[in-house]
């Protein structure tokens, strides 16, 4: 009886081990896609090891599509056109694709598409300028109680080629109870003429994984990685008057733009409105006012919506919009550059259009 049980157990174990070996072999041989080619824009072909996501396969070849969720298919930033070889749209992609994109069938999430055979994709050519950089934290400045300016020196010999208004994605590191890395987008606040380093202005976000890391863990000398540059919030090369509007860390791309325009010797009329609640939310005020001595026609206008009684604030108060009247001399020849919360962008855009600005002359980088 006992021997019979032992025999049965041995037989079942043998079957189990055999099946496991078969599965491992099947995994190795059936899932081995070998080398696969990715045709990019019909102009460039790269060869990658099959079986990985399109996003990581491209990244391995130093081609970085935007991604903020670590390839989990939730941020939809890595959307790209897959002309062939991508297989059917997956259930994980459907929730973040629009009806038009689903109907077209060729817009896909690069993080969800697996490269299993030759694949043909189309991506903006500007993507080729995006690279991964190694850098060291060179300076941390406390601008306000919740906003820091962080400067990074790129590794020896590395240079970043960006335009004022663009952003990078900073990779956080595991810390405290956070086991995973995340990548978050931050506008570059330094001028593009300095290519071996850059500055970001980062406001603390309660519960934010990356901003908590930046504010509580990052220190001068720390090594970091970032990718970029991304974004198309750029200064238009015209002679139109310019209105800048920003709030909070929205000051970052505007600072880069002004520093760049100063180098370029810009003579356009410019007015910069910075919205804040009270004086404790103001920063870089002297630096922004100093541009009044750099440009022939520039005015910096901080406006406080809720100044504290103890602020002794004698500047402009309330909402920014009523003050546009004095800044716009010819609405047909005025451009606006806005960076801040979606509510601010919406209210300011509506007001500017009421003053006669064309909708397509209002450029913005919305937080939402």
């Amino acid at each position: 009886m006992f021997i019979t049980i032992l025999k049965d157990v041995a037989l079942l174990s043998a079957i189990g081990v055999t099946l496991a070996i078969i599965m491992v072999l099947a995994q190795r041989w059936l899932s081995n896609y070998g080398d696969c080619t990715i045709d990019i824009n019909g102009k460039r072909e790269i060869t990658v090891v099959g079986g990985n996501s399109l996003l990581s396969s491209l990244a391995d070849k130093q081609i970085f599509l935007p991604s903020a969720c670590g390839g989990r298919g939730t941020c939809a930033a890595c959307k790209c056109k897959v002309e062939s070889g991508g297989g059917p749209i997956l259930p994980t992609e459907k929730p973040v694709l629009s009806a038009a994109e689903l109907a077209a069938g060729d817009i896909r999430l690069a993080c969800q598409v697996k490269v299993k055979s030759a694949i043909k994709i189309e991506i903006p050519s500007s993507i080729f300028n995006i690279r991964r950089f190694n850098a060291v934290v060179s300076e941390i400045i406390d601008y306000t109680y919740d906003t820091k300016g962080i400067s990074f020196k790129l590794s020896e010999g590395e240079k970043i080629d960006f335009q004022a208004g663009q952003y990078v994605q900073l990779d956080s590191q595991p810390y405290k109870g956070v086991k995973q890395k995340v990548s978050r987008a931050y506008s570059i606040s330094s001028k593009p003429e300095i290519s071996d380093s850059l500055q970001l202005i980062i406001r603390y976000v309660p519960e934010g994984i990356c901003t908590t890391w930046v504010h509580q863990c990052l220190k001068v000398g720390d090594k970091i990685t970032l990718t970029g540059p991304y974004g198309d919030f750029l200064i238009k090369d015209t002679d139109a008057d310019m209105i800048f509007v920003a709030g909070g860390s929205g000051k970052a791309p505007i600072k880069a733009m002004l520093e760049h325009l100063a180098v370029a010797g810009c003579t356009r009329k410019m007015t910069y409105f910075f919205g804040a609640k009270s004086t404790k939310d103001l920063y870089l005020t002297e630096e922004m006012h100093s541009f009044e001595n750099v440009f022939p026609d520039f005015k910096y206008e901080p406006v406080l919506s809720h100044p504290d009684a103890t602020d002794n604030w004698t500047g402009k108060t309330g909402y920014i919009m009523p003050y546009f009247k004095d800044a716009i001399r010819d609405p047909k020849n005025t451009e606006a550059y806005l960076c801040g919360s979606p509510g601010m962008i919406s209210a300011v855009s509506k007001s500017l259009m009421e003053y006669g600005l064309a909708k397509d002359k209002i450029y913005y980088d919305s937080f939402g």
Partner: protein, 150 residues
């Protein structure tokens, strides 16, 4: 109540460091299903549904969100302020939903009750009946929400 493998995956996404720094569970040792069931019972006694609560939260968030500075006073008694930061959060139930990173703070000046919620809270309450676990950063007790919102 025993958790299924799907429940465990959802719980893992609700843990600290997965989607937000401190997660959605707090120090609550109950299963997610038990947390939801307990809050649904509370709401029954308050004669409100999660949908009614979430719709009211959405109304206040939308009203303050659309203003320049994100704050507004409604019906003379609701002081509402919504602060938006860059980026979006995914729902821990992993159905593809993306939610703006916004925090709305409402004070009902008629009874001095203040409640705070995120855009993701509204969705979690409306579609999953989940008010978060006890001790989590953005859990608001259903009783307090009803006192503040209605």
């Amino acid at each position: 109540m025993k958790e299924t493998s799907k429940d465990i995956r959802i719980r893992n996404r609700m843990m600290p460091g997965a989607i937000t720094l401190n997660g959605f569970i707090g120090k609550d040792k109950r299963s997610i299903a038990d947390i939801i069931a307990a809050d649904e019972n509370t709401l029954q006694t308050l004669q409100k549904t999660p949908e009614e609560i979430a719709d009211r939260m959405q109304y206040f968030t939308d009203a303050s969100f659309s203003t320049f500075a994100g704050n507004i006073t409604l019906d003379d008694i609701y002081d509402v302020e919504t602060e938006v930061t860059r980026g979006k959060l995914s729902c821990p139930y992993a159905h593809g939903g993306q939610f703006r990173k916004s925090v709305t703070k409402l004070t009902n000046t008629s009874n001095n009750v203040t409640v705070t919620w995120t855009a993701l809270n509204i969705h979690l309450i409306k579609d999953h009946h989940f008010f978060e676990g006890k001790g989590s950063t953005y859990r608001t007790e259903p009783e307090n929400l009803v006192k503040a919102l209605f």
